[in-house]
């Protein structure tokens, strides 16, 4: 892995506003900037709205030594717009540079290839839920000619709620430490350390507490918003 000078943060959340994926990615982007990297953020939903925006996405990828994709887990995988963005990157951007064409796991990235990092967060307390999505990203990196630099998984991501990590303070201490370590290593041209993966996976609160708060929160929202329709309604039955 080469020492990066430029980094691109791809925010894979389909939400139009603030998202937890963006919070995580933004923290890492800021830390990379403090270590001297020039950075850029692109939201994939915006990049897919027009041909011009997609071209800008491809240009940004081509100009980056390091690409970080931060996304929410959607049904064991990446959200549809993130998958679309990866398809575009693999087919067009990587193809233009002659890096595309290999099947997953077949061809290691050439020396000097840009690095690819994935950060996946989900509402599940268990990090295992996101392992398939990270594997998908690893396969993408291999097939599109990126050097896979590792993946981070955060469980119970609902606690972030789109807020900046620094504002959440101690609750996100482990996640921030994981991202600090990640920035240290990536900026030095090294892949993610195992300690960063471990720290990111460390639950901020016990799973039962998270579930309790989650249930309370959903009940509360449904009571306010559903106009009396029961949560287990069967509108098509």
């Amino acid at each position: 892995m080469r020492t990066p000078r430029t980094a691109l943060l791809l925010v894979g959340s389909p939400k139009p506003g603030a998202s937890s994926s963006e919070s995580l990615g933004a923290y890492l982007r800021e830390e990379l900037e403090t270590r001297g990297l020039k950075t850029l953020t692109v939201k994939v939903v915006k990049a897919l709205r027009s041909e011009e925006a997609t071209e800008e996405l491809c240009a940004a990828v081509a100009a980056s030594d390091l690409v970080v994709l931060s996304f929410p887990l959607y049904v064991d995988s990446l959200p549809a717009p993130a998958i679309r963005a990866l398809e575009v990157i693999a087919a067009r951007c990587a193809g233009e540079s002659g890096r595309a064409g290999a099947a997953p796991g077949e061809t290691p990235a050439a020396a000097g290839s840009p690095a690819f990092v994935a950060i996946c967060q989900s509402g599940f307390p268990e990090v295992e839920q996101s392992e398939i999505a990270i594997e998908i990203c690893r396969n993408f990196a291999a097939a599109a000619g990126f050097e896979w630099a590792g993946g981070l998984i955060l469980g119970a991501g609902g606690m972030i709620d789109g807020k900046p990590l620094r504002k959440l303070g101690g609750m996100m201490r482990s996640a921030m430490r994981a991202l600090d370590l990640t920035a240290d290593e990536l900026a030095a041209g090294r892949p993610l350390p195992a300690e960063a993966v471990r720290l990111m996976a460390k639950p901020a609160i016990p799973a039962f507490g998270y579930r309790f708060m989650g249930n309370w929160g959903w009940r509360s929202q449904i009571k306010k918003q559903s106009d009396g329709v029961p949560v287990d309604a069967q509108p098509f039955a």
């Binding site: 959340s13 389909p14 939400k15 139009p16 998202s19 929410p72 959607y74 049904v75 064991d76 995988s77 990446l78 959200p79 549809a80 717009p81 998958i83 679309r84 990866l86 398809e87 693999a90 087919a91 990587a94 595309a100 099947a103 997953p104 796991g105 077949e106 509402g123 599940f124 307390p125 268990e126 295992e128 839920q129 398939i132 998908i136 396969n139 993408f140 097939a143 599109a144 998270y210 579930r211 989650g214 249930n215 959903w218 009940r219 929202q221 449904i222 918003q225 559903s226 106009d227 329709v229 029961p230 949560v231 287990d232 309604a233 069967q234 509108p235 098509f236 039955a237």
Partner: protein
């Protein structure tokens, strides 16, 4: 699966006219029809189906109904009329995803609304996959994925995974 009804919903997630995939699709559709099934053959790429925006309104505001008013909403209603649902898709290009984006949108749009929160075991229970809760029926679901080309992981040149 009911004893009398024989309705099959084919969710055709192909993204192009690949002849191998067409062969599989046609054989399935024709075979079901020949076997007496009423086949609802839905080519997803013909319809504009937005991706899930993660708003959770299908849980909180209109339980069971997606907030986005497009044809993605129809899956649940067509599903409930079916005894068999066959979802056909291809892996997502070099992204290596389990489903192409066309089918992916449909999966996203119809997972939460078919699967309400589970208070008893916690909203976020591992492995929850009870799509029939909302629909009050249990259609058989068969998902067919086709890998058109050989890769390092799967050795067969054209492998059907069901």
């Amino acid at each position: 699966m009911s004893a009398t009804a024989s309705a099959a919903l084919l969710l055709d997630g192909r993204v192009d006219d690949d002849p191998t995939l067409a062969l599989i699709h046609d054989a399935l559709a024709d075979g079901l029809a020949a076997g007496g099934w009423a086949v609802d053959d839905w080519r997803l790429r013909d319809d504009r189906i937005a991706w899930c925006a993660g708003c959770f309104k299908c849980w909180t505001t209109t339980p069971g109904v997606c907030a986005h008013a497009d044809r993605g909403r129809e899956v649940a209603s067509r599903w409930v009329r079916s005894d068999l649902v066959v979802a056909g898709t291809v892996p997502a290009g070099r992204a290596g995803g389990p489903e192409a984006r066309t089918f992916r949108r449909l999966v996203e749009r119809n997972t939460l609304n078919m699967q309400p929160p589970r208070w008893s075991s916690g909203v976020l229970e591992s492995g929850a996959n009870e799509w029939d809760v909302r629909l009050a029926v249990s259609a058989l679901l068969d998902e067919v994925g086709v890998r058109p080309a050989r890769d390092a992981v799967h050795s067969a040149p054209s492998e059907v995974v069901a």
